[in-house]
Amino acid sequence: MLGSGIIKGLAVTAKNLAGSFHDPARYVTQEFPEVQPQLPENSRNFPFLVADDGADPMGTLRCVACQICEKECPPQCIYIEKSKDKKPDAAGKLQLYPAVFAIDTSVCMSCQICVEVCPFDAIKMDQVFAIATTDRFNGLLLNREQLAKSNQYYHSIHPTEATEVDARLAAERKAAEEKARAAAAAKAAAPKPAAPPPPQPPA
């Protein structure tokens, strides 16, 4: 019968209309500003810098200004200047730190490659998406003070990943300490190194 297909289609729309009142699978809209979305743990937006101590973020940045992320960033949105002096990091080792660390978020495409290449777990992805600003130049250029966030914050947005990172860093620190202790012990125990053998004349 001509028109039966249309009537069948109208039955589908009627079912969906009625279903949208009681079936959450058919009504998926969220009232956004009132209801904030529950982002999954892996969700990523712009990067931030991890600081071990939230009270003194500039003093405890994990970043050692190695500039790997700056080189690998596909749209080249990271700018780093190395410090002239060195500061002890969490393991007590003297390291450089970024005197300037800036990310131009108008260029950044949130691809996460900086996070993947960072050998120090110093840069991670944030989840803040309400980033609109009225100043399109300086408002979108974030410096290291704006980028630094505490490790507790990192734990609050990516708990599984942050726990893994903490465990790995602790293991590395322990290994480094043991190695230093072993080296010190070896140095103390070993007698004065023997004089190097005199160079052999060529045959």
Partner: protein, 389 residues
Amino acid sequence: MLASGSAAAPFSSASVRPVHDEFHGDLLEVSMGPHHPSTHGVFRMMVTLDGETIVRLKPVFGYLHRNHEKLGENTTYLGSMPYTDRLDYLCSMTNNWAYALAVEKLAGLVPPERAEYIRIILAELTRLINHSGLIGFLMQDTGCSGTPLMYAFREREKVLDLFEALSGSRMMCNYQRFGGCRVDLTPAWVDSARRLVDAFPRFLDEFEALLTGNEIFMARTQGVGRLSPELAVNAGLTGPVLRATGVGHDLRKVDAYGLYPRFDFRVPIGAHGDTYDRYMIRVLEMRESVQILQQALRDLPAGPIMDPKAKLRGLRPKAGEAYGRIEGAKGEIGFFLISDGSPNPYRYRIRPPSFINLTVLEDLCLGHTVADAVIILGSIDIVLGEVDR
């Protein structure tokens, strides 16, 4: 006012102007686009009309050109991966896979079995969202405003939630890596994917009840934009547009890349090559994709997801060339790379399926009306990010 004696036109504007043709007489040239809701992006069709019949159609594109290939030659191999998301921004997972496949051929990397399964799962999910979204937009073009598109997008949201939970981003996934994948699937993810895949046929049934037998839709699409298999093959078309003409060419069967030979699925082919067949092929392909997904989620093996030889930074493949291609949702998406041993590719070339499928637009539209041209363009399934690159 026009001088007396010349062909007086009722009106003249920048987008509509009268032209005179020796064979057809007085014609009207209409510029549809580049900003037109029916052109799926910034795409322009210069249509010459005789009455309401199309006698010439010139596609004009390039408004979204952003130097993708040159950028690829100036960034590292890894650095191009996030840019491939932005080619066909509805199918970032398949773009990633095709590019990763080309680099893997170049560098001699072999992804482990679990990674291959993950890739197949993600590629088939991408096919589901691309095809259902496309049908929604096609209905929008036929004048069925909103309803099918909203239903399609409702389902798409669920798949995008899965993509976000896995890769961190809904559309710009940047998920595949050379030699494997970036993040492993969690059991919870697999469970929710299984639930989604099991529920998807119900949505397809509903979608079909809404559209397949609809008399208005059939009247608008059957016999419209008929494409012959000869022309389709000669023009190098791929994907559902080719298969709708009755040519059974599917890279999943022909190339047997990845682990597709292990899966039991059929390749639907059309009979008429018209717009309705192109719609129907996509519905049937989604049903086959659901079959593949069910098998993949059932047989998903445990194990590593990265080739142990792969390294993230400093990839410098030996000098040589490679072409990696897969069956994307729109057709054959391929990446051709030439390496000279440096960290950047010497040549980086993309074979975009929707760009090549677009080349037959004039042949499909000739003799039809403007309203038909809109749905023919919709049924070809273009994404301008990929056409213009």
